[in-house]
C-alpha cells in the first residue's frame, strides 16, 4: 500500500464506492446524504492513505469508518424516525408479484430499526459479514450482535408476514 494517490486512490474509490455508498444509503435512506457521507469516508481514507497495511485492512477500515459516520449522522439528525418498528403501520395493499414493492417495504422497515441493530442487519445482509466480524468491526461482544440480529429479524419477519395476504387455497 505504499503507492501514492491519486491513481491508486482513484482505483480504490471505484472498487469500494458501491459498498460504502450502499451502507450509507441503506442506513440513512437518503441518496444525497448517503453520497455526501460516502465522499467524507473516502476523503478520510485519502488522509490516512499511508496507514493502510493491506487491501483487507483498507476494506475493514472503510466499513468501520462508514459505520461510525452513519451512527454519528443518525444521532445528529435523529433521522426523522417518528415511529418505532413495533409501531409502524403495514401497507394497505400487498402486491406479491411486484418484488420491488417488497424490497422497498423491507428497506422502509429497516429504516425504523434503532441505529445499532439497523447497522448490524446491513453489515450482515448487504456485506455478508459473520457476527464475529461485525462484532470486531463495531467493537462489541458477539453475543450482542447475535441478539440484535435475532431480534431485528424476528421484528422484520413479523411485519412482512402481517403485511402479506393470507394464502387462500
Amino acid at each position: 500500500m505504499a503507492e501514492k494517490a491519486p491513481d491508486a486512490f482513484d482505483a480504490a474509490v471505484r472498487e469500494h464506492q458501491a459498498m460504502v455508498y450502499s451502507i450509507a444509503y441503506h442506513f440513512l435512506q437518503d441518496p444525497s446524504a448517503a453520497e455526501e457521507l460516502a465522499q467524507e469516508v473516502f476523503l478520510e481514507l485519502y488522509r490516512h492513505w499511508h496507514e493502510m497495511q493491506s487491501q483487507q485492512h483498507r476494506l475493514f477500515w472503510l466499513r468501520q469508518v462508514a459505520s461510525r459516520r452513519c451512527i454519528d449522522q443518525a444521532r445528529r439528525r435523529k433521522l426523522r424516525r417518528h415511529v418505532s418498528l413495533e409501531e409502524a403501520a403495514e401497507p394497505f395493499t400487498w402486491m406479491p408479484a411486484a418484488d420491488p414493492v417488497l424490497k422497498r417495504y423491507i428497506e422502509q422497515l429497516l429504516g425504523k430499526l434503532d441505529e445499532q441493530p439497523r447497522l448490524i442487519v446491513i453489515l450482515r445482509y448487504q456485506e455478508g459479514m459473520e457476527p464475529a466480524e461485525i462484532a470486531d468491526l463495531l467493537e462489541m461482544p458477539v453475543a450482542t450482535v447475535k441478539s440484535h440480529l435475532q431480534r431485528s429479524l424476528a421484528l422484520l419477519r413479523r411485519k412482512v408476514s402481517l403485511a402479506a395476504p393470507k394464502e387462500t387455497s
Binding site: M19, Y21, E35, Q39, K103, Y125
Partner: protein
Amino acid sequence: MMDFEDQLRRALERKEPSPDFAARVVARATRPRRWMRWFNPRVWASAGMAASLLVGALGLEMERRQRARQQGEVARAQLIQAMQITSTQLDKIQKKVQGALR
C-alpha cells in the same frame, strides 16, 4: 416462497452512487486545502517582491525628507548668520551717525 433472509439480502443489494462519484471524490481529495495555498512558493515570491518594493519606496521617501530637512537647516543657519552680520553693520552705522551728530 423465498426465504426471508434471502428477501433481506435482495432488499439490501449494493447500489452504485452517481456515475461521476469517483471523479468528484478524487477532485476533492487532491484539491489543495485553503491553508495549503499559503505555502505556494509563487505566493511567497510575489509577497516578498511586493514587500521589498514597499520597503525600498519607504526608504527613498525617508531619505528625501531627511535631505530636505538638512537643506532647510542649512538655509536657516545662513539666514541667521546674514541677519547677525546685518545687525552688526547697522550697529556700526548707528554709532557713526550718533558720533557725527554730537
